[in-house]
């Protein structure tokens, strides 16, 4: 699920950026430092929407850098158990398959794949339905439900299932 949050961050700027474009540099630095990170408390920070306020810089003794406390708004993505996500298959193997929903990695175990799917390793490893119509292979788009999450300080990992109604392959790999 996506949220817009207001967070703050301490940003350190070397003295060579002190000048008329200081604010822009600060925002650039904030974007590069914050976007794409993951915190256990808030989830993945997808992007910074706006910078709300910047505190006065404090010169660090010895280095000459200044540190600014920046308050910013950002979009975060945090998965919850029971949530349905669309994901792209990144790896298929005997024990199941891995998929990615943006920055989030999800594993679907083979026992949470419908029973008529069989693993074939002929060309590339893939799960193929009994009638051969549906294939879960590298790059397939699947809709899955999150059944378990493991949230560490700087990482989130999910376990998903496609063994339910309306879940499963929704698109073949784009060629």
């Amino acid at each position: 699920m996506f949220f817009v949050l207001e967070l703050d961050k301490e940003i350190e700027l070397p003295p060579r950026f002190f000048g008329p474009r200081l604010r822009e540099t600060l925002e650039q630095k904030l974007h590069s430092e914050v976007e794409g990170t993951c915190s256990g408390a808030y989830g993945f920070i997808i992007c910074v929407v706006s910078t709300e306020s910047v505190s006065k810089g404090i010169i660090r003794e010895g280095t000459g850098s200044a540190s600014f406390n920046v308050k910013y708004k950002c979009v975060v993505f945090r998965p919850f158990r029971g949530e349905v996500l669309d994901a792209v298959v990144t790896q298929v193997n005997k024990v199941g398959f891995f998929a990615e929903a943006g920055p989030l990695q999800i594993f679907v175990s083979s026992h949470l794949i419908p029973e008529d799917f069989e693993l074939t390793t002929a060309d590339e490893p893939s799960f193929v339905s009994a009638d051969g119509e549906v294939r879960i292979q590298l790059g397939s788009e699947v809709r899955l439900r999150v059944v378990g999450t493991r949230i560490d300080a700087s990482d989130i990992f999910c376990v998903g299932t496609i063994k339910e109604d309306y879940l499963g392959v929704i698109g073949d790999p784009q060629a």
């Binding site: 193997n93 024990v95 891995f98 594993f107 026992h111 949470l112 029973e115 999450t149």
Partner: protein, 491 residues
């Protein structure tokens, strides 16, 4: 109120016993070596014991376990083991009461007889217990329902196999690590697409269910088929039990209550039965069991000693004097403890029996006058201070009586719990005297234990005023001053 157990509940108990307790109860410990001697073998035979015990208990309410063991011709220890197991399974309720101590066991540390014991493990093993048990129908019903529900749920979940987090076990015997799918990114080996143990590197095996079984997809499917089969069989075999539970569910559940309540109840009922002249035909069998409870639950008798020594001066058999303000028209006033009064009463009674109304009145007047005269002589005009207006006041007679009882307010009422007369300790008498004169005290006078020694020395200087602790339990009549006695304020 008598508890009658409906037949459907009895059927339920029988079904439960046959369904769940037909084997060894308690189950045999596989690590325990089998008994060798014939006697030990017989005592270690628990097969089907629960069925026997429960059937026997169906026709009893609270029953002494010793009686039960005798009736079933079982060793009490063996029976107790089974009962304990059934109690843990919430089929029975048990209560333990300390037996009255015999002289031999009396070490003065283990509370009193008749005390209810919460946990039989907690108490000194030397204290003997009187244990009672009965079928706990409310708990039993709950237990059966929960058990059936959990069995169904377990099988249903296993069949559906929807456990979201799959477990993986390391097959290496020394390692035995367990992992879940949540750790998948750390376990996966991209070269062969399998999970490997983080510690030993062995290929992990998927766990089937919550037990320790492992297997691939094929065995998983096989297992599910087996479980489905098992579920069907279980449903079929437990159908009588489920039906019986459904039948019984909305009925009034028989409940014997706690042992104490039940015993009191039973006693009252039997007394009623005796008064009604119906006789306790059904109760006769229980009489023995009840006897024990009566002994143990004998109410603590409290003797109220008003006014200390003053009252003891009166002859104990004398009828209490009725205060003057309670005298009423036509009342026969008894006088305290005089033979003449009794004789007068008897005379009057005899006259009343055959005489006319006038005779009765005349006799009454003479008797009354006589009584008053005697009383005045005896008390020396002590009654003259009674206020005349109190004559009409008949409210709260008991309270008034207490007030006027000689010395009642001065001394304060002392209530003494009746204690069993402590056996006298002849060998301790001389020591007491020794203690009173510490100068000449021999160090180890006649087997006195070292622990008691300092107490003796402490007590010695005040021997005249204060009784040492150990004497308190003894016959308290010997003490002159009531202050050192065990005392409670009358409230």
């Amino acid at each position: 109120m008598s508890v009658t157990v409906p037949a459907s509940f009895k059927t339920l108990v029988k079904l439960v016993a046959k369904a769940f307790y037909s084997g060894d109860v308690p189950p045999r410990d596989p690590n325990e070596p089998p008994p060798t001697t014939a006697k030990a073998k017989q005592q270690a035979e628990y097969k089907g014991l629960a069925i026997v015990v429960l059937n026997a208990l169906l026709n009893r309410e609270w029953t002494s376990e010793d009686d039960l063991a005798r009736d079933l011709k079982l060793h009490p220890k063996q029976l107790r083991k089974t009962l304990r197991y059934l109690e843990q399974d919430h089929i029975l309720q048990r209560e333990h009461i300390k037996k009255a101590r015999t002289r031999k066991q009396d070490d003065g540390t283990d509370g009193t007889a008749g005390e209810v014991v919460e946990d039989e493990d907690d108490i000194n093993p030397r204290v003997q217990l009187n244990s009672f048990c009965s079928i706990d129908y409310p708990a039993l019903l709950d237990m059966v329902q929960l058990r059936l529900h959990l069995m169904h749920k377990y099988l249903k979940d296993s069949v559906q196999d929807q456990d979201p987090i799959q477990e993986y076990l390391c097959p290496t015997p020394d390692c035995g690590s367990r992992y879940t799918t949540l750790q998948a990114p750390f376990l996966i080996d991209l070269t062969d697409g399998l999970f490997h143990c983080e510690r030993c590197g062995a290929v992990l095996q998927a766990a089937l269910g919550r037990g320790g079984e492992v297997g691939d997809e094929a065995s998983r499917r096989q297992r599910r088929a087996d479980l489905k089969n098992l579920q069907a069989r279980m449903d079929a075999q437990l159908k009588p039990l489920t039906d019986q539970v459904a039948r019984v569910k909305d009925m009034r559940i028989p409940d014997f209550g706690s042992l104490k309540d039940w015993a009191a109840d039973n006693k009252a009922r039997e007394a009623r039965a005796a008064n009604g002249g119906r006789g306790g035909g059904g109760g006769a069998g229980r009489a023995n069991g009840l006897q024990g409870i009566d002994d143990e639950y004998r109410e603590t008798q409290v003797e109220v000693d008003m006014g200390g020594g003053a009252s003891s001066a009166q002859p104990s058999a004398a009828p209490k004097e009725i205060p003057r303000w309670l005298w009423r028209e036509g009342m026969n006033v008894p006088k305290p403890g005089t033979a003449e009064a009794a004789a007068a009463d008897a005379k009057e009674d005899a006259k009343q029996a055959d005489g006319t109304a006038a005779d009765v009145q005349e006799a009454y007047v003479t008797a009354w006058m006589e009584a008053v005269r005697r009383q005045q002589e005896a008390l020396g005009g002590a009654t003259t201070d009674v206020m005349p207006e109190q004559k009409e006041d008949v409210e709260g007679p008991a309270r008034k009586r207490i007030k006027t009882e000689s010395g009642a307010e001065a001394a304060g009422p002392a209530i003494k719990a009746e204690v069993k007369p402590e056996p006298s300790f002849p060998e301790e008498e001389p020591e007491w005297e020794d203690a009173a004169h510490p100068a000449g005290q021999p160090a180890a006078a006649a087997g006195q234990t070292a622990a008691q020694e300092p107490e003796w020395e402490d007590a010695a200087p005040q021997a005249g005023q204060e009784e040492p602790e150990w004497e308190d339990a003894g016959p308290s009549q010997a003490h002159d001053d009531g202050e050192d006695d065990l005392q409670w304020e009358d409230t």
